[in-house]
């Protein structure tokens, strides 16, 4: 049943992908200021949403892991971490391209971009810790994920106050008409893709853990040595 649901959602995401592509290039009028480059906006902001969500998922899963000592949560945390790194990378690429079009420079110390970059660095650190942490890497990574997730609002506010000289209105509510629907459709698209990748990745780390546990149990039972 789960398998079927998975492919149903995969199908939906493919359809939604075509539909959003069509909407983005045809359905929405050109932005007065940015003309064509504004089109990247429909992908850039949803990715940032996914990055924030993935970090929160990793934090909560890690918290459950250390409180309940159950390997399954650790798999979810590891998966969420890796997917967060992926979406963070996508967000930074699209962000800098939009920056190039909007402000003419590849990187702009804009509050939101900086916060996302810091979050992304956190998750890259998370991957490093998982890879080089040695035997206690899982608990160490869990600690980092928990502290990292708690850190999100603090990073957001401190960077926001540091970087925004003038509080400019956030772009999202300003959209109207077809721009708005397209935007929220792309957000939906990315949420689905995020969940799909997450589930696949969780399955994988679960298998890895189970293989390791089988090997360990076999060792305990003296079967292997």
């Amino acid at each position: 049943m789960k398998q079927a649901m998975y492919f149903v959602f995969a199908g939906i995401s493919v359809l939604l992908f075509f539909y959003t592509i069509d909407l983005i290039f045809y359905g929405t009028p050109l932005d007065a200021g940015l003309y064509f480059n504004q089109k990247i906006f429909y992908y850039h902001v949803p990715q940032a949403f996914v990055l924030f969500l993935a970090v929160i998922v990793a934090g909560v899963a890690s918290l459950l892991y250390i409180k309940r000592r159950d390997g399954r949560y650790d798999d979810v945390a590891e998966a969420a971490g890796e997917v967060a790194v992926l979406f963070g990378a996508m967000m930074l690429v699209s962000g800098s391209i939009w920056g190039k079009a909007a402000w003419g420079v590849w990187w702009q110390w804009d509050a939101r971009l900086t916060t996302s970059l810091l979050l992304w660095m956190l998750m890259v650190g998370y991957m490093l810790v998982r890879k080089y942490g040695g035997p206690s890497a899982d608990r160490l990574a869990a600690g980092l994920a928990i502290f990292g997730a708690v850190n999100i609002p603090l990073v957001y506010f401190s960077v926001k106050i540091w970087r925004t000289l003038h509080p400019e209105a956030s772009v999202v509510p300003g959209l109207q008409g077809s721009m708005r629907t397209t935007f929220w459709l792309s957000v939906l698209l990315f949420q689905i893709v995020f969940v799909l990748l997450l589930i696949a990745r969780v399955g994988q780390s679960r298998i890895q853990r189970q293989v390791r546990e089988v090997r360990e149990r076999a060792l305990d039972a003296g079967l292997l040595d």
Binding site: F18, I21, D22, Y26, L30, Y35, F36, K39, Q47, V211
Partner: protein, 202 residues
């Protein structure tokens, strides 16, 4: 029909939709091309003026009086015009010189146009032949239109972005695929080990 075609192409290139941006009205960018009512008329005005007079005007001095014939009578304009055309046709060098002078004047007018735009510059108004004025506005409009279309068209820039994003996702999926295969191999290997060990124990 055009949209369907684009969607298929988008699917084929996974988001690399190469949309031929239809010039549907909804799409025309904000800076509407100012339809220049005068263009039509300026062509007619130019042909009536004799090129020689135009030449003088181009170099900025006042228009000289009509040329006199050796025997004191004035040369009728039509004869003058055909002689000039013949000369232009035969003497390539002169034609080229004339051309260069003409473009020089045009460039001067465009420069002046830029100067006028400068807020702090004192507007050095130089009297230019009207047809030169029109020609330069027309060129300027053409440049603007080309810029405009380029901006509209510079989707390669944005398409590259979309492509990069989906390439990243694809890369991730491939990366997971390989890891999946490695996992399957490890499981098979573990299976083997366990069976062997079980066999030994009996």
């Amino acid at each position: 029909m055009r949209r369907l075609y684009t969607i298929l192409s988008a699917g084929a290139v996974l988001g690399l939709a190469g949309p031929a941006v239809a010039q549907n009205p909804g799409d025309t960018p904000a800076p509407a091309a100012q339809a220049d009512p005068a263009t039509g008329s300026s062509n007619r005005a130019r042909s009536s003026q004799s090129p020689a007079g135009g030449l003088a005007a181009v170099s900025g001095e006042d228009a000289a009086a009509a040329p006199a014939r050796a025997d004191g009578g004035t040369i009728p304009p039509a004869e003058l015009k055909s002689a000039c055309e013949r000369a232009l046709r035969d003497d390539a060098e002169w034609r080229e010189a004339l051309g260069r002078q003409l473009t020089g004047a045009l460039l001067a007018s465009l420069d002046q146009r830029v100067d006028d735009a400068e807020p702090d510059q004192p507007a050095k108004k130089r009297k230019l032949e009207p047809w030169v004025e029109q020609l330069s506005t027309e060129i300027e409009r053409k440049i603007h239109q080309r810029e405009n279309r380029a901006i509209q068209r510079n989707n390669n820039h944005v398409i590259m972005a979309y492509a990069a994003l989906w390439a990243l996702v694809l890369g991730f999926v491939v990366f997971m695929w390989n890891r999946q295969r490695a996992l399957k191999a490890e499981i098979a290997q573990l299976q083997l080990e366990v069976e062997e060990a079980a066999a030994d124990d009996e």
